[in-house]
Point group: C2
Chain length 332, copies 2
């Protein structure tokens, strides 16, 4: 059968045609303007997004219940961050296996409560049902963005610099550490990577500032991998993109892994689950980006640029092209 993207494009995107704010289901979240009697009212747009997770597919059944709900919430908040939205709340649909015990549910809810306090959101609705299959969760998050300020992946301009927040590749390595891989990596590094995988940090304040200051020309969150997600920006913006692999920011733990196995760099560029923000900005605004990084105490690293054309090229520090095949990235 077709892959997920093809199925969505073929069967579900047509259902979004009458929803201009859904943008063909191609952005991280959808925009809605509530109507007043004389048309859209208010000075904020609603932003909506949904993600689902299945035990054994998206997380391990033995993962701590406290972090499972938190990760699902954070993944959705990351989609709001990518649009520049301030989160307000969420709805949760949970299909619980019949033999789940109440302690599991209590811990799951306690984890959500912890993140609600951190991110200033609340549960607005839900549905709990019973399933003969694996635990299946879906979460719809909503927030608001000043009207006409929402970020989009489709609006990068040729010549823009490409920035990424935080560090890249930790999500992929964290999953590997949790699966018992990464022999020889120090325990503190393994723990750091595992935490990055289990509890990604949605870059909400960054997204909000990029949107409100009009600093980013395009943005999305790194969920499919840096290469694939920069490819999304390029494709949707009708441009080409270039990544300088030597510039990609790595955590000390990821740097340690690469020192022992430098051939894994393309894999880190292709790995998903980092939930950093990838955004483009005019070169003339580099000073503002640096000031924002300092204000947020969050690295914002230029890793490439947008250009006329199509496709994605990665180059190493010597200027040689790095092949990204087999990393989840497909040329278009």
């Amino acid at each position: 059968m077709r892959g997920e993207f093809e199925l969505i494009a073929r069967y579900f995107a047509p259902l979004a045609e009458a929803a201009p704010g859904a943008q063909g289901l191609r952005n991280d979240a959808a925009l809605v303007d509530l109507a007043g009697p004389a048309g859209p009212a208010g000075d904020h747009s609603l932003v909506l997004t949904v993600d689902a997770m299945v035990a054994g597919v998206h997380f391990l059944p033995e993962d701590p219940p406290e972090t499972i709900g938190r990760k699902l919430l954070r993944v959705n908040l990351s989609d709001l961050a990518a649009m520049g939205a301030r989160p307000r709340g969420y709805l949760l649909a949970a299909a619980f296996p019949r033999d789940i015990d109440e302690a599991w549910i209590a811990a799951f809810a306690a984890g959500l409560a912890e993140d609600q306090a951190i991110f200033g959101v609340a549960l607005y609705g839900g549905d709990t049902v019973s399933t003969p299959g694996p635990l299946t969760l879906s979460l719809t998050a909503f927030g608001e963005v000043p009207k006409d300020r929402a970020l989009s992946r489709a609006t990068a301009r040729a010549g823009d610099l490409v920035y990424v927040s935080g560090t890249i590749g930790d999500g992929l390595l964290g999953l590997e550490a949790l699966r018992g891989g990464l022999p020889g990596v120090p325990e503190d590094h393994r723990a750091y990577l595992a935490a990055r995988y289990r509890l990604p940090e949605p870059r909400l304040e960054l997204g909000r500032r990029l949107a409100e200051d009009g600093l980013a020309s395009a943005a999305l969150d790194v969920s499919d991998g840096l290469a694939a997600d920069l490819g999304h920006i390029a494709e949707e913006s009708g441009l080409a993109a270039e990544i300088e692999t030597g510039a990609v920011p790595l955590s000390p733990a990821a740097r340690g892994v690469l020192e022992a196995a430098p051939e894994r760099l393309p894999e880190l560029l292709g790995g998903g689950d980092d939930y950093e923000l990838l955004f483009t900005a005019e070169p003339g605004r580099a000073g503002e980006v640096a000031a924002l990084a300092a204000a947020l105490d969050l690295p914002l690293t230029a890793v490439g640029r947008m250009a006329a054309g199509r496709g994605l090229i990665a180059r190493d520090p010597a200027g040689a092209e790095v092949t990204l095949e087999g990393t989840g990235w497909r040329h278009f």
Copy 2:
């Protein structure tokens, strides 16, 4: 383990405490006012609701894919109707079994497209994932209601008449017909009942008019059964309620079943899945209710009244109390 209501009250309602519009997760949907720089902006509130369905639990795996998505959409639209909201759109999370075929997905999407045209809604976002378990769907619907006009189940007043739209009990009998029950019932009646179960009619226009005209003092949609849902209104409003069983509106098909088996009446009052609106209104506004029924070409039948006190009583036409035990209804 505790039942669904207890689990929600214990673990999930506390997560909704910071969301005033979620009303402790006790209404059909949640209300949100988007903020402007100086507080809530716009003259409409956002209304949000979510429902989930699992193959083999909420529908039969061999049910026609066209109607599965439509029913899930309609159940959610019915929650919006119960709040008096006008629907705008929905988000869909689908966990597809790995062996699902594309024709199934195509038919599922075609059914949704049909209902989108009927109800004027569009798909705003979604997530499709793969599951080793049964097909699991969750749908979040959203709409808008004029500010301070949303209907609630908690605001009935003593002396109000209790009305229900359409007919009651068809959902329960429709499921029975689909499972091969109801021997001796004519084929056209079986088909009618099955259609009522598979494609309930969300009473959107009724809900909107009840809210905008301020005609209903309280409302919800009949999903747990007439008795249980009237019990919800009574409990949340701090009142008692009385149903006259002889007044409950029945379709010709349901009436036929009852003529052959009059002892099944309490069961029909306890059956769910009707998705009619149950609402309360001052007796002095009975003329307006009748005019609305005529305008909408939809029966709105007075079936009881609210009174001071607690609990729910059903009486037959002779005034004798009818026991509702064993119908899903529990005394409180």
